[in-house]
Amino acid sequence: MISLRRTAMGLLAAMYLSALLAGWLAPAGYARQFRDSPAAKPSAFFWLGTDELGRDSFARLLHGSRVSLSLAPAAAALATVIGAAAGITAGYWGGWIDTCLARVMDLFLSVPWLFLLLSVRAVLPLNVRPLQSVGITFLLLGLLGWAGPARVLRSAAREIGGEDFMRQARARGCGRLRLLTHHLLPNVAPVLAAQFWMSIPIFILSEANLGFLGLGVAEPLPSWGNLLAGLQNVDAVLSCPWRLAPLALLLLVMACFHLIVPMEDFSK
C-alpha cells in the first residue's frame, strides 16, 4: 500500500511539474490557432495533434492540467476550512448551535449544486479575463462544496468530544478554547487532511462537469472540463484515439489522489 501511495505521489508530482513547465514543453501555446492544420494527427510538431480550430492539443492538455491541478486543491482547501469551521463548531458546542448549523449543512447538501452554480454564474460580471473566470469558477465550487466535509467533521468532533481524555481535561478545569486547540483539533487533523485530499478529485470532476456543459473555464483557456467536452463525438474519438488523452490523464489523477489518502484515517 505504501509503495502504491509513493507511486501515486510520484506520478502526481510529475504531472504537476509538467503542468508548471507547460510553456517550455509546448511552446506553440494553448490559444494559437493554426488554421491550416485543423484536426491534425499527432506529429513531431503537434505531439497530440490539433483540435478543430488547429490549436495544439498537447499544449492545451498541459495548460488545462495546470488550471485543474492548481485550482482544485485551492477550492478543496477553501471548502475544507469552511467545512471544518462549521463542522467542528457544531460538533463541539452542540445544542442549538449544532441544530442550526446541521440544518444549514442539510440545506446546502439538498440544493442541486449544479443549478445553484449556474444561477450564481449567471449574475456574475461578464467582463472578466479567462484566468479570473476560472478563479471565480473554483471559488464558487469551494464556497458551495463545504457542507460534505462539515458533516464528517461534525461527527468526528462529537465523537472525540465524548472521549475520556476530553472529559478528564474538562474535569481538570481546561478552558473551552484550550480544549479545542490542544485536544480536539490535533485529533481531528487526520480527518481534516483526508477530507482535503478527497475533495480535490471532487472539485476536478465538478469543473469537468461544468466544462462539459460549456459553463466552465472561458475560451481560450483550456481545462480538463472543456477538453473532455471534445469527446462527445464517439466516432471521432474512436478514429483518433489520441483524443482520449485528457480522459486518461483525468482518470490517472483521480486514482492517484484516492491512493494517497491514508486509509487508516477512515478505520476509526
Binding site: R35, L53, R121, A122, R129, P130, G214, P220
Partner: protein, 549 residues
C-alpha cells in the same frame, strides 16, 4: 386542332418525357420513421406554436395555399385559385370541389369560414393569426358564393398569400376532438392513429386525401409514418445509422461528416439555408455598461471595422467543416426572391480594419488598441453554453480581433440567463446568436428590423428611432409592407439590406447549409432549405420496392 398543333401539344406536355420514363414506378406501402425533437404541446391545428406541432400540422393539416419548399412559389391546395385585390386588403379564394376530411365528411365553406375566423380571432391568440393583425380594425371573413371565401383586412398587406401556408383548415368538430387526436378528422395526407406520450406518434394514410399523382393513384404513397420523440440528436443519428429511422432534418456539420463517411449517398447537403450566425453590439442607451463602450458600439466605423476583421471564410471552413458559406447580408441567397444580389461578401482585411479604426480616433499602442480617451478596447461576447459551434465561432473571433489589438472576453451562459440579459436587463456588451428566417417574405422580418420591435436585436422597443439610418429602415420596411407591386417592394427591401450591411448593427457571419440525412431506401426525397427540409413533399415520397427497411 390541326395535326401540327397536336404534335406540339404532345411534345410540350401530354406525352411522357423520356426522363419520366426512366424513373422507377413509385410503389405504395411501408412505414416511414423519423424523430420529433420534443413532445407536441397540443393537437389543436389552430394553436400550432412550436416545431413538433408544426411537423404534425404539415403531415396532417390541409391549407388553402402552400409554398413549394423547393421553388418557393405559391401553389394551390384546398383553394383551387385565389386573387388578391384592393391593394392587398382583400383575398378571395375559390375552394376546391370534392375535398373530404379523413372520416369521409366533405369539406364545406362553413369549415373554411370557421378556420379563418378562429385564426384571426384576437380572443383565441392563435399564433398563425398574429401576422394578419397588422392594422387597426376587424378582419372580416365572409362567403360571397357557394365555393368562395373572402378575407378583408383593415389595412393593405403585401405578400398576404404566404400567411395561408401556416393556417390549417379544420372544422369545429375536429377542434372539439383535438384532445383525442386519434379521433380528429383532418385534411392532410396523414391522420393520427396512435399517441404514446413521451414515446411516439403513429400516423396512417388519410383514405380520403384529395391529391392524386399523374397516373391517377391516390396519394400519399407511404402507408404510415411513425414519429419517435427523441431529444438527443446524437442518438437520432445512431438510430439512423442503425436503420431505425429514415430521415433527419437539420444535421450539424460534424454529424453530417460522420454520416457522409459511412454512407455518402445518404448525407444530403442542400446548400445555403436561411439560418445564419450573427454578432451584434448592445446599443441600448440605458444599458448598464460603461459609457465609453457604448460610444464604440454606437460608432459605425467601429462596427464596420469589427466586421472587416473577422475571417468569415475561416469560420465557415473550420467551424462548419465547409458546410456553410460566408454571409453576405441579413438575407441569405437561399431566399430566392428577396436576396439582394448586388451585395458582396465583406472582405476580410485586418489592415484595412485597423486603418479605419485609426481614422476614427483609435490607436494601436503595442498590441493593445485604445480609443481617443486612452481606454483599452476590451469587451465581452456572450453566447449560449453547450453549443459547440458557437463556442468555436467565439474563439475564432477572439483570435481575429486580437490581431487588431482588441481583447474579447467570451462568456457562455445558459440560455435563460442569456435571453434575460439581451431582452430585459440589457446587461451585456455583444452577443453571438443564430437567426432563422422562417418567413421568406420581408414582412416576416418586421419584428426584427423595425426600431420599435421587441426583437430588434441591438436596441429593442425604441419609442422613436434613435438613429437616422434606423428611421430610414423603419420607413422602407413600412413602405414595402403595403406595396402591392413586387418590383417596388424588392427595391425597398434591397435598400434595407444595403443599410444593414453599411451600418453593420448586426455582423452576419455565416449562412449555414441545410444538412439532412435521407435513407437510400426512399424515393422522391428532394431536401430543401425550407422547413420541413426532407419531407416537404411527404405525399410523394415512397419506398423503393414498396416497404421500408
Amino acid at each position: 386542332m390541326n395535326t401540327r398543333w397536336a404534335v406540339c401539344a404532345l411534345a410540350l406536355g401530354l406525352a411522357p418525357s423520356p426522363h419520366a420514363a426512366r424513373l422507377p414506378e413509385p410503389a405504395p406501402g411501408g412505414e416511414l420513421r423519423f424523430c420529433l425533437h420534443a413532445e407536441p404541446k397540443n393537437f389543436n391545428p389552430l394553436m400550432v406554436s412550436e416545431e413538433p406541432e408544426e411537423v404534425l400540422q404539415y403531415l396532417t393539416g390541409g391549407v388553402l395555399i402552400r409554398i413549394n419548399r423547393q421553388t418557393q412559389a405559391f401553389e394551390p391546395e384546398l383553394a383551387e385559385s385565389w386573387q388578391v385585390s384592393d391593394g392587398g386588403r382583400k383575398i378571395e379564394f375559390k375552394l376546391r370541389d370534392g375535398v373530404r376530411f379523413s372520416d369521409g365528411v366533405p369539406l364545406t365553406p362553413a369549415d373554411v369560414l370557421f378556420s379563418l375566423r378562429s385564426v384571426v380571432d384576437p380572443a383565441l391568440h392563435a399564433p398563425a393569426g398574429e401576422p394578419f393583425r397588422t392594422g387597426k380594425g376587424p378582419i372580416v371573413v365572409s362567403q360571397p358564393g357557394s365555393h368562395r371565401i373572402v378575407m378583408a383586412l383593415p389595412a393593405p398587406m403585401a405578400g398576404l398569400e404566404r400567411l395561408f401556408d401556416q393556417v390549417a383548415i379544420t372544422s369545429a368538430r375536429a377542434v372539439e376532438k383535438s384532445a383525442r387526436p386519434d379521433e380528429m378528422p383532418v385534411l392532410g395526407p396523414y391522420r393520427i392513429t396512435g399517441y404514446r406520450s413521451g414515446s411516439s406518434l403513429l400516423l396512417a394514410r388519410n383514405p380520403f386525401y384529395w391529391k392524386k399523382d399523374e397516373a391517377g393513384r391516390r396519394l400519399p404513397y407511404i402507408d404510415s409514418v411513425r414519429l419517435s420523440i427523441q431529444q438527443n440528436r446524437d442518438l437520432e443519428l445512431v438510430r439512423f445509422l442503425r436503420g431505425d429511422i429514415h430521415l433527419i432534418n437539420g444535421l450539424d456539420a460534424e454529424s453530417f461528416d460522420r454520416l457522409a463517411e459511412k454512407h455518402p449517398s445518404e448525407a444530403r447537403d442542400a446548400g445555403r439555408s436561411l439560418e445564419s450566425e450573427e454578432l451584434w453590439f448592445n446599443q441600448v442607451a440605458r444599458a448598464p455598461i460603461p459609457e465609453h463602450r457604448k460610444e464604440w458600439f454606437r460608432s459605425r466605423p467601429f462596427r464596420r471595422a469589427i466586421a472587416q476583421a473577422i475571417s468569415r471564410a475561416d469560420l465557415a471552413r473550420l467551424v462548419y467543416r465547409s458546410h456553410a458559406a460566408p454571409a453576405i447580408g441579413p438575407v441569405s441567397p437561399a431566399n430566392l426572391s428577396w436576396f439582394n444580389a448586388k451585395l458582396r461578401v465583406p472582405t476580410f482585411d485586418p489592415d484595412a480594419s485597423l486603418a479605419s479604426l485609426k481614422a476614427a480616433g483609435f490607436s494601436l499602442a503595442g498590441a493593445v488598441l485604445r480609443d481617443r480617451h486612452g481606454n483599452a478596447v476590451e469587451f465581452s461576447l456572450i453566447t449560449n453554453s453547450g453549443n459547440k459551434s458557437r463556442e468555436r465561432l467565439a474563439s475564432m473571433i477572439q483570435q481575429d480581433l486580437a490581431r487588431i489589438g482588441i481583447r474579447l472576453n467570451v462568456v457562455t451562459l445558459d440560455f435563460g440567463s442569456l435571453i434575460e440579459r439581451i431582452t430585459r436587463t440589457f446587461d451585456y456588451e455583444s452577443c453571438l446568436l443564430g437567426m432563422v428566417n422562417v418567413d421568406l417574405d420581408p414582412s416576416g422580418g418586421m419584428n426584427v428590423w423595425l426600431s420599435s420591435a421587441s426583437s430588434h436585436p441591438w436596441n429593442p422597443a425604441q419609442t422613436a428611432p434613435e438613429t437616422s439610418w434606423e428611421a430610414e429602415i423603419d420607413r422602407l420596411m413600412r413602405a414595402q409592407a403595403v406595396e402591392p407591386a413586387f418590383a417596388r417592394r424588392k427595391a425597398l427591401f434591397d435598400r434595407v439590406q444595403e443599410i444593414i450591411v453599411e451600418e453593420a448593427p448586426v455582423v452576419v457571419l455565416v449562412d449555414k447549409n441545410s444538412l439532412s440525412a435521407v435513407s437510400a431506401s426512399l424515393g422522391n426525397v428532394a431536401p430543401a432549405v425550407l422547413h420541413p427540409q426532407t419531407f416537404w413533399n411527404i405525399d410523394r415520397i415512397y419506398f423503393r420496392g414498396g416497404t421500408g427497411r
